[in-house]
Structures are given as structure tokens and as C-alpha cells.
Amino acid sequence: MTNPKTLIIGYGSPIRGDDAIGPLAADALDAGPLPAGVTVISRHILTAELTEDIAAADRVIFLDATVEGEPGEVRVRRLEPDATALSSMAHFLDPRELLAWVQTLYQREPAAYLISAAGQSFDYANYALSPTAATALDPMIARVRALIAEPLPT
């Protein structure tokens, strides 16, 4: 049996402090050993052209920073396509909106998760996390590894 195709997308601005945790976690995962069938992408923002990559995956894991929760806290939640989660911005998308694009255009609905880490500072920086957010990096990566070790949900 072949491994499920898993797509990991870490996203956030590299120059806005803890917002960089998604891309940093993605880069760390990409640098380490990964099971077959796992692809890692690092982006500033979620854009429409990611739909083709997502449509080709069985499972997609988004990694992002959040202002919700205690700084350093890591949360995992399932995501469903949601066409009403329209981003108010012209050139980036909400992950649920992106999943709805995939569902509408490609009739595909991969199992989707959002792993978020609560940030503390979103001020100007360059791939530099606050000490508190930095403590979330390893747990975030561990959550990803745990997820991709699981079979696909039925």
C-alpha cells in the first residue's frame, strides 16, 4: 500500500516576528527526514495557485501563527471547506476558503488540519521569533509528525 500524499504548508510573513513560525516550522520539517509521500511548502501567504497542489493531496496540514490563546500555545484542529470564509484581502486566502476552491473546482476534499501557535510579538523582525513563541516550534513540529504518522481519517 502506498503512503498517502500529505502536503504541509507553513505560511506567514517572515518579517513580522512570530508570524514567521509557520514557514520556520515548515523549513525545519523539510530539512529533516520525512516519510515518503510528504511534501512541504513554505509561503508568506496562501494564494489561489496552491489549489492545484492541495487537490493532488490526500491530507493537507496548514501551519500558522495566531493571536488567539496563550503565547506559545499550540493547537490542532480539523478544517472543513467553507466558501463563506472569504478573505477580505485581494491576494491571500483563508485556508478554509482555499479548501472550498479545491472542492468546487476539483471535487477534491483532502483531510485538512490547522496547527497554530500563539504568537507574542508581531513587530518587525527577520525570521526571528520571540522567546515564548520559539518554545512552540518543537511542539508544533511534533504535532505534525504525529499527524502524518496516523492513517487517514475515514
Partner: protein, 475 residues
Amino acid sequence: MSRTVTIEPVTRIEGHARITLQLGDQGEVQDARFHLTQFRGFEKFCEGRPYREMPALTARTCGICPVSHVLASNKACDYLLSVTIPPTAEKLRRIINLAQITQSHALSFFHLSSPDLLLGWDSDPATRNIFGVMRQDPALARDGIRLRQIGQTIIETLGGKKIHPTWVVPGGVSEALTPEKREAMLKMLPEGLEIAKRTYAFFKTLVPKFKDEATNFGTQDTMFLSLVSPEGNLEHYDGFLRIKDAQGHIVEDMVPTWEYERLVGEAVEDFSYMKFPYYKPIGYPQGIYRVGPLARLNNANSCGTPYADVALAEFHMLQESGPIASSFHYHYARLVEIIYALEMMERLLKDPDILDTRVRARARSNRDEGIGVSEAPRGTLMHHYKIDDDGLVTWVNLIIATGHNNLAMNAAIRQVADAYVDGNNLQEGMLNRVEAVIRCYDPCLSCASHAFGEMPLLIELKDAKGRVVDRLSRG
């Protein structure tokens, strides 16, 4: 009783803006204004920085067209160095610029404007969005995604990353092209061209349905400013400035870009943070001109690539004679330029010198003033810097493509408001048309934030004393 209608924010554009319509006693439009409501300050806070930082700093002006700023800024730096960059570096810079134009035009057409074009100006605003387009024509939506992906992938292949690439440097580019990267890019282009051609063919069938909009969407007499090649053909990277008047007479030609200040003056109005560039010899505000795809095609003798030249000939048939006047046809011009960009990228990538490893001229600063001009997706982009003996920036002037169109956009919303807005019976579709004429210009009002889609729309009618007498809102 005079009243003011405010449309805020204007949706499906890049940045924050507001439109106000001043209505007279009978509900007729007396004035229309387009306000840029956000302030950035790049020209000021760049002062004191080393000039070599300018490409990276000014690229942050925009998340949609950073490549354009990187190119204009590096051209200004080339000028400061007093170097002629290696021919291969110029070709590589041209390719990344054309990839940028492809992806940006694709975003404008498929993502921002197609809801109006496919679903109609008066359709339900709740579904007049990209999901409405996907349901109505999923193949078109997939084409839009793929075309943008091709442009973005070429930018990433050359620049190392999709947003804010640092591969273009003063004196050329930092890294030569490898055969593997060239092949990867060449492989994508035929598919891109097929998409562009079928989208163009499809749009041609739509154009006759929009006779009314083509008649009323910004058809005012203006001049047209753009770069042209030394042969007078379509040009996006270098060349000379050309200005045509509304009748098609060339009033300025083969003007070196460093003489832009002779042609372009900048006025300021108290109702907007965007300046009002004008053609200096005629003065303000009579010196109104347009830039961008419509101006470039109006000014070019030819495109110089096979399919784009056929499309250019058809573009000129949109009107009996003279430069194409209607701003509605910016959409058409964008599709012609996408075809051109894909054809030209293929030609450049097949150039025998494209793998040459000599891609950067090195020098220290040899001038105290540098000017860089290129064509961004939305029009002519000008960067002008002055530096001191230590290479620190002492003065900056940026004339952004959208700024050139400011006078024209204000005139266009007035025309559309006159044609469609009935102050006594406000309808959402009327106001959507006022917004839509702005979308024709695809303004990029800076990328600190980008309003689009289902942002709330608030229109208030106020009497002469500022009291709200009526209100229409969505979102």
C-alpha cells in the same frame, strides 16, 4: 438639497480607497472623487538608507507587483553605478518582468474583474464573487489559477521566491540561469499560451455584450504615456518614453527615461494621499494622461510576437480609428499583453546567450542621482534617488503606475456616475459600476492591506449640513 454619496471601501482592488459622489438638488451628479485614504511614506523613510537597500525596501511597497519595484529600483541603482548591465542579465530581468505581468494581469482579469464580466453588474452581490465564477465557469476559474501559477513559478524559479525576490541586484542579477531551470520554465509556457489564447477568444465573444459599458467607462479624451522600444514597439523593461494624444498624434517620442521630469509634473489635492501626475507642457489638470496596458497598446507600433500582433490588430478594431479610448478595454489589453508576455518569455528563454554566466557588472557609485523606469503591470513606474558621497539616500521620488492614472480615474468615475447613478433611487448595481470602472485600471493603492470581495460597502447620503438622510450598506 445637495447630498454626498460615499462608497467606502472600494472593493476588489489593491488597497484602501473611497469614492464620493456629490449630488445636486435634483439627484444629479455634480462631482465625483476618488480618494486614496492610506498613507505609506516610503519616500521619506528611505532617506538615510544605503542605496543598495533600495530594491529590497521599495519592493515592500507591494505584495502583488514587488518585481516591478525591484526592477525599477535596480535600474535606478544601475544608473548610480554608471554601468551597462550584461546583455544576458537584461534578458533575464525581462523574463521575470514578463512573468510578473502575466500573474498580475491574470489576478486582475480572473479573480477581481471576472465576477462583473461573467455574472453581470446587477447580479446579486452575495454571489458576485470568485465562487460565483467557479460555479458558472469552473474551467475558466481553473485556467486563471493555472496561468497565475505559471507566472508565479517562473518568478520563483528565477528569483528564488515568489514574493520579494532578491535575485535582481544593482548591475544585473546575482545568479546565472541553469539549463535545468530553463527547461522547467520552457515546459510550462505552451500550456500558458493555450490558456491565454482561449481566454482571449472567450473574452472577444463577451465584448459585444458590454457596448454600454464600453461607451460610458472612462472614454474621456486623454493622452497615453508608456515606454516603447527604439523601434516604437511594445516595451516593458527599457526603451524610451512616448506620449500620444487622444487623436493618435505622437506628441513626445524617444524621450530618454532620465528626462521624465520634463514630461511629468505632480500635483497635490487635499482629498487624497495619491498625487496627480500630469503632462507638464500642458499643465494641471488639462495634462491628463493614462498609462498601463491600454496606453502601451495604443502607443506601440507592434508587439513583435505572432499571436499578440494578431490580437493587437483586433484590439485596434474595437474602435473605428484613433487610440482606443474606453477604459473598459483595459481588460482586453491585459489579455493581449498576457499572450505577448508568454510568447516573449519563450523567445528569450530560447535565446542562445540566455545561459551565459556573465550576468553582473560590478562598480561602486559613480553618480549622485539615479533614475530607473520600467513598465509595471499597471503602467509606467519611475524610481528616482539622490545619494551623498557615502552612498546614503538623501532624496527619493517614486511615481507609481496607478498614480499616473489618478486624473483619468477621477474623470472616469464622474462619467460613470453621470451615466448610471440616479441619486433619487440608489441601487447597488449603479454603485458597482462606479467601482467597476476603477477596477478597469486595476489600481494598486499599495499593499499594506488589500480590500476585496465581500468587504462592507457603505453609502451614505448627506445633506448640505452633513446630516445623513439615507443609507445603503452591504456586508
